[in-house]
């Protein structure tokens, strides 16, 4: 994967946005076959992208949704409101800086 963490995250946000939109539409149109097919296709794409992202940069979700490398990455990787989260283009910033 030759894109930066920031670009990768952006791609996940785009895919997830499409899936959220389709999800809300399907809530009120549960028998809409085209929307359902789109939802299933994009969900698969999103799941693959997230799994690949998490292997490189640490977990996006906790509570058993993604395994962690040593040490416990969930606590040690940056949070979305922190400067480190939106890091320099090519810096792999899935790991906490040594203090």
């Amino acid at each position: 994967m030759n894109i930066s963490r920031k670009e990768f995250l952006r791609k996940i946000q785009e895919l997830e946005f499409a899936v959220i939109e389709l999800n809300l539409f399907l809530d009120t149109h549960p028998s809409h076959q085209q929307a359902l097919a789109d939802y299933n296709r994009l969900t698969q794409e999103l799941m693959n992208a997230k799994a690949m992202y998490e292997r490189q940069y640490g977990p996006l979700t906790n509570f058993g949704y993604a395994p962690s490398q040593y040490p416990w990455q969930w606590a040690l990787t940056p949070w979305p409101w922190e400067d480190d989260y939106d890091c320099k283009e090519d810096m792999p910033c899935g790991y906490m800086k040594k203090s």
């Binding site: 995250l9 809300l24 809530d27 009120t28 906790n62 979305p80």
Partner: protein
Amino acid sequence: MWIYEKKLEYPVKVSSCNPTLASLIIEQFGGADGELAAALRYLTQVWTMPIPQAKAILTDIGTEELAHWEMIGTMVYQLVKDLPESKIAGTPFAAHYANHGKSPFPHNAAGAPFTATYFNSKGDPIANIYENMAAEQKARATYEHLIRLSDDPGVTDALRFLREREIVHFQRFGETARLLQEYMDSKRYY
């Protein structure tokens, strides 16, 4: 059960320190038509909804509103986090700082603390869904006010995204209102 995702729904990038703008957009963090009120309103109404589509849409829009609340909190924080303490006095953010420091806190732009009286759950599906449609329009109007007040391009971009979400939510609640009306009518007459 809820799962947290360690990312924002939409990327937020503020351009510079701006305590005035922080004190304005906090309206959507803890105001009457803000994201916290929206999330709690919808998530509180799910128990008494009679049809599956309504339970689903309230759960899912309520959950999305929590992600919007996180975006607003992130913007409020980023607008003040690098601001030197000495520069806070005399800004509209000073009154907030006196109590909360640089932490976001749910109150509105005029300082009134968040209250559950901002929303209701009537145990009546039609009354609930029309409250929700009105709430989405009021949130849209608030975002338009904030977009006019914003002088930070990054904040304006995120506010535009959030405004558009209110329009989509209004649309989905309108469809839910029709489904609920059909359900009530079928129960009454057949």
